[in-house]
C-alpha cells in the first residue's frame, strides 16, 4: 500500500494523487478530495506569506491514527493526506485530503471527517505575515464544534 501521510514542503498534484489512490482497485466507486489553499486575507487583514510548523514524527502519527479511524468508520478503501509545511505564499496549495470508497456518501463524509479532525488534533501551527508583523494564528472555536458533530470532543481552543 502507498504511503498514506506526507508532511513536507513540496507541492502536490491532485490528479496524480487521486490516480495513485485508486490505482488497480475496481472496488472503488467514489473518490472525494479536499484541497485547502492559502488566502491573501485573514480576519479582514492582508496576508503575505505564511509559515507552517509541525512536530516531526507526532504530526505523521496523529494523522495516521485519524486515517485508521476514518477507514473503519466509513469503510474506506484508501486514503491519503498531504500537508505542506515551511514557507507558503498566498494561492499556494496547503493541504490535501483524498479518500476512496465504494459509494459517494462514505467518501464525502470521510473527507470532511478527516479535515475536521486534522484541524483540531494534528500538531501543526500557522504563522501569518501581516502589514503589522508576523502573528501566530488563533485556534477557532468553530473548528472544535465541527469535530463535535462526529461525536469527538476536541478541546483545542
Amino acid at each position: 500500500m502507498a504511503e498514506r501521510v506526507s508532511i513536507r514542503h513540496a507541492d502536490f498534484d491532485l490528479s496524480a494523487e487521486v490516480a495513485a489512490l485508486r490505482a488497480g482497485d475496481g472496488g472503488v466507486g467514489a473518490v472525494a478530495a479536499f484541497v485547502g489553499t492559502v488566502r491573501d486575507r485573514s480576519s479582514g487583514r492582508e496576508i503575505g506569506r505564511m509559515e507552517l510548523e509541525h512536530y516531526p514524527g507526532m504530526t505523521e502519527a496523529a494523522i495516521e491514527a485519524m486515517i485508521d479511524a476514518a477507514m473503519v468508520r466509513f469503510e474506506l478503501r484508501a486514503a491519503r493526506v498531504v500537508h505542506r509545511v515551511g514557507v507558503l505564499e498566498p494561492l499556494d496549495q496547503i493541504v490535501l485530503v483524498a479518500v476512496a470508497s465504494a459509494h459517494r456518501g462514505q467518501a464525502f463524509q470521510a473527507c470532511e471527517f478527516l479535515m475536521d479532525y486534522l484541524k483540531t488534533q494534528a500538531p501543526l501551527w500557522k504563522k501569518e505575515a501581516t502589514p503589522e508583523g508576523a502573528r501566530w494564528v488563533d485556534a477557532r472555536v468553530a473548528d472544535d464544534a465541527a469535530l463535535a458533530r462526529w461525536g469527538i470532543t476536541a478541546g483545542n481552543g
Binding site: 496547503i94 486534522l118 501543526l124
Partner: protein, 83 residues
C-alpha cells in the same frame, strides 16, 4: 527522573526548542508545568495557567493528569491551527 521537554510554535519562540528537566518520581504533566512556570518570568508568561496550552507525552496528545516516566518526551504547544 529526567524529562525531555520540547516546545513548538509561539512557545518555542519564547522558550527555545527544548530543555531537560529533573522532576520527582510520580510527577504528572500538571506538576511538570507548575515546575516550569517557576523557572523564569518567560516560562511563567508562556506556560501560566491563563494560557491555552496543550501537551503531548511521547508524541501523543494527553491530559495533564498523566503520570510521567523516566526519560519521557513531553511537548507543550498552543492550540493547533493546521489545515
Amino acid at each position: 527522573m529526567k524529562i525531555q521537554v520540547r516546545y513548538f510554535a509561539s512557545l518555542r519562540e519564547a522558550l527555545g526548542p527544548a530543555e531537560a528537566v529533573e522532576v520527582p518520581e510520580g510527577s504528572t504533566l500538571h506538576d511538570l508545568r507548575d515546575l516550569l512556570v517557576q523557572r523564569s518570568p518567560l516560562h511563567a508568561g508562556a506556560l501560566g495557567r491563563e494560557r491555552a496550552v496543550r501537551c503531548a507525552l511521547d508524541q501523543r496528545l494527553c491530559s495533564e493528569g498523566t503520570v510521567l516516566g523516566d526519560g519521557a518526551e513531553v511537548a507543550f504547544f498552543p492550540p493547533v491551527t493546521g489545515g
